[in-house]
Symmetry: C2
Subunit: 486 residues, 2 copies
């Protein structure tokens, strides 16, 4: 230990305070400078564990800084685990547990067999958005971070009720806004019939836990959003896919399977279906509802892409909940796709009795959702900024959709449906999509192969592309080379 200046009077175990002198004009606060310099001394092992730090008084005198500054800096060093405070004796360099970075195991290369959990884990890798044409959400630069940050600042300034649990059913003013939103879709629901959730994912989990018992059958579209297959499997449900045609489910097949399996639920994206971006025709909406009545199953209508839909002039826009008025339909929505996934604000609208059960179940599962982020969503909705933002989003999607279709077709992919709206294209590669996905991962691209979207998980030649995440020309070059080869 070097021990060269006047503070050596502190004794053998004392830290020398031979810090570079502090600057008041560096742009860095004095506290930050002290923290940085002490950290460097400890990390370079100049000051070893057990070394006593100068007292607050001595430090403050020697460096001509206030005692408050030293206390604050020492506190941060204690919090970061570098120093410890021994009662009545002062501050010491701590016996350290190195902060170990998480092992790479969760981001491992593709296993021989692709699975849902593996793909979903990869969806959350900290990869640049343009490397993720398989992603299910829009890149950051498509969203409006100022809108969210401003609302968050406003909520922080309000400074009230940021501490308590809030209501298990969700922040009431937000539920009132959602009532208005549903009213525009001609779905009548009082705030009592609305339960906020941590995204549509929790909404679906709550509904499934309420209605599905092990061994029960759940119908889903085939293809469909893959995460829920894992979620239903966890509940011991038997998951059966109903083929999705361009105008909705294959009705003959739905009738046949319903008679055979007597499902508890049918989960469906009526509008902008993931992964095909097609929407249900009004006639099919009616037929699905009739079958649900005949075979007594609940329809869970996941309308997460609601605000990306341009309206009935462009693509059919009939929600089953609008026909049924939440008798037999449980309607799910949220803001993860259009506002910010990190808000985790989704919701359920259901019949009063069902909503009450779901609110109780939510309470037993997570007590409440975060009122802070529900206040953020409320602010953005109530101030009218949300409408303009989603108008812009739709415009931007329209501006890239046709070009992306042409680019993919030029290199030999078939775009199975060329929808006039939404963020996804569902394509046919003409070769196995799993193999291509594994090769793409080696080159740093995340793709979403068709096998994942089917409850059968069978190999598939389909691939879902996110048209907002195709800006990197490398992905087209990769596809051209690989598809040419196969």
């Amino acid at each position: 230990m070097t021990n060269t200046d006047s503070s050596s009077a502190l004794g053998n175990q004392a830290a020398s305070t031979s810090l570079t002198s502090l600057s008041r004009n560096s742009g860095e606060s004095l506290i930050e400078q002290i923290v940085r310099m002490v950290t460097a001394r400890i990390e370079d092992k100049v000051w070893r564990s057990g070394t006593r730090m100068p007292s607050i008084r001595r430090f403050s005198e020697q460096y001509k800084v206030s005692r408050f500054t030293v206390v604050e800096a020492y506190d941060r060093l204690v919090a970061s685990g570098l120093l410890e405070s021994r009662r009545g004796s002062g501050f010491y360099v701590r016996e350290r547990t190195p902060i170990v970075p998480p092992s790479a195991s969760t981001h491992a290369p593709a296993p021989r067999q692709l699975d849902v959990v593996w793909l979903v884990r990869n969806m959350f890798r900290q990869m640049p958005a343009q490397k993720m044409p398989g992603a299910g959400s829009l890149p950051n630069e498509w969203l409006d971070s100022d809108l969210v940050a401003n609302a968050l600042r406003a909520v922080a300034r309000q400074n009230h009720n940021l501490l308590q649990y809030g209501e298990p059913q969700g922040f009431l003013p937000l539920r009132q806004q959602l009532q208005l939103k549903l009213d525009e879709l001609e779905i009548a629901a009082t705030p009592d019939q609305i339960v906020t959730t941590s995204g549509v994912t929790q909404a679906l989990d709550l509904v499934a836990r309420h209605l599905v018992r092990p061994g029960d059958t759940v119908f889903v579209d085939d293809p469909a959003w893959f995460l829920m297959f894992g979620s239903f499997a966890m509940l011991g449900a038997n998951v059966i896919g109903i083929p999705r045609l361009p105008d909705g489910p294959d009705i003959a097949r739905l009738a046949e399977m319903a008679a055979l399996h007597r499902p508890k639920l049918f989960v469906i994206n009526s509008l902008l279906h993931n992964p095909t971006s097609t929407s249900l025709s009004a006639a099919k909406a009616f037929q699905v509802l009739k079958l649900a009545e005949q075979y007594d199953f609940t329809i869970v209508e996941d309308d997460i892409y609601c605000d990306m839909h341009p309206g009935p002039a462009v693509q059919p826009a009939t929600r089953i909940a609008t026909l049924d008025q939440l008798q037999r339909v449980i309607y799910l929505g949220g803001f993860s796709k259009t506002l910010a996934a990190s808000l985790r604000v989704g919701f359920i609208a259901a019949a009063p009795e069902t909503a009450r059960h779901l609110a109780d179940r939510k309470m037993l599962t997570t007590l409440t959702t975060t009122e802070m982020t529900e206040r953020v969503a409320y602010r953005i909705l109530s101030e009218g900024h949300y409408r303009k933002h989603v108008d812009r989003l739709r415009g931007r999607l329209d501006a890239v959709r046709d070009r992306t279709v042409r680019q993919l077709e030029r290199i030999g992919l078939r775009v199975s449906s060329h929808p006039p709206a939404g963020m996804f294209l569902w394509t046919d590669l003409g070769c196995d999509a799993n193999t291509l996905t594994a090769r793409a991962m080696e080159e740093g691209f995340l793709l979403a192969p068709g096998s994942l979207f089917s409850p059968s998980q069978l190999p598939s030649t389909h691939m879902r592309f996110n048209i907002a995440a195709m800006a990197d020309p490398g992905i087209l070059r990769f596809l051209e080379r690989e598809i040419g080869r196969s």
Copy 2:
């Protein structure tokens, strides 16, 4: 419809803009003034549905405000459902769906039979804290709302990555802080072994769903935190209470029941047990762990009151996870009690393989927790303010505990254990606590009767009091009167 000023030129269906003139010095923005005045006109039915609003240009000219101001005000009115925009034709007063306040049914008077869900629902009523001696959390004024609001503002200012899902396992810097926190308890865990959750409630739900199947047995303390009884019941588990003595579980009974029922889990508060505020002796910690090994069950150590514990000099402070090093123990913690319940920041620390399974399960259930609030918790922990805050909290609790014990004893309650720490007193009323709770509710006080804390839900003479929520002298008068009568 009165139609008295120059804008009557707009025609019969047009709204008169006879608004009180706008003020630039009122402290209220021009936008807010317009919104308020238009809202009043519509709510008073001066302007009826279908009425056309003045065009943006005309409004801006007449009131000498910028078009931007009018656009912004109209947008807010559209968002709040009062106006609608008809493409190419302007803004109209909308056919209205009245906002119906939620029915009072969720806050109904006590049912003849008290139940967990009923009490928990009442816990979330918007009642003044001093009316809730039965509450499980500290009143707002005991917490530090500036600390939370400042951290939230700082996170909003950072303005980065507020949009995406974040990592399913939780915000990495927070997990690194938690590693340090656990290290101080001599529990070694890498960030890979830590999964953040939406409070301890979700932590417990994830663990139970991972390890418990319908028909399995789960042991809990008796008495214990009641919410989990409902949570386990939802999973079809058989919940059995192990009597809690002042130094920990009744070991002979635990051994006997373990041999008989072969439980999957034993959920325990080792420190500051809810509701008694007692802590496990080191010897009992060891005995519980030995029995867990012998009968091969997992110990779920819920340490939510960790930071209210004053250290081993005052009360025993042995965590089973410290003895076991997360082999057989799953450790739960969080900040709902000490920082802010609304953050919904809790965590699980477990063996690496278990943590990986729990992270996957969390992903299938809610995808991610809110990175925003995890950043808030991270900031407060890493800047060292948290330590001082919990020091103050403990001091305040110490300042009211003995006085509250004396007050309760004076009116004839027996304080079953008089613990030197924590926020709860577990008392014996000498009369049925359910009856007293129902009477208290009629007078506007929320109590927490002993029957709720037992998985048997049998009538009990015990009552839990929150010493931070006894400031209203009315509660002591009520107790004195009622207990004197019984």
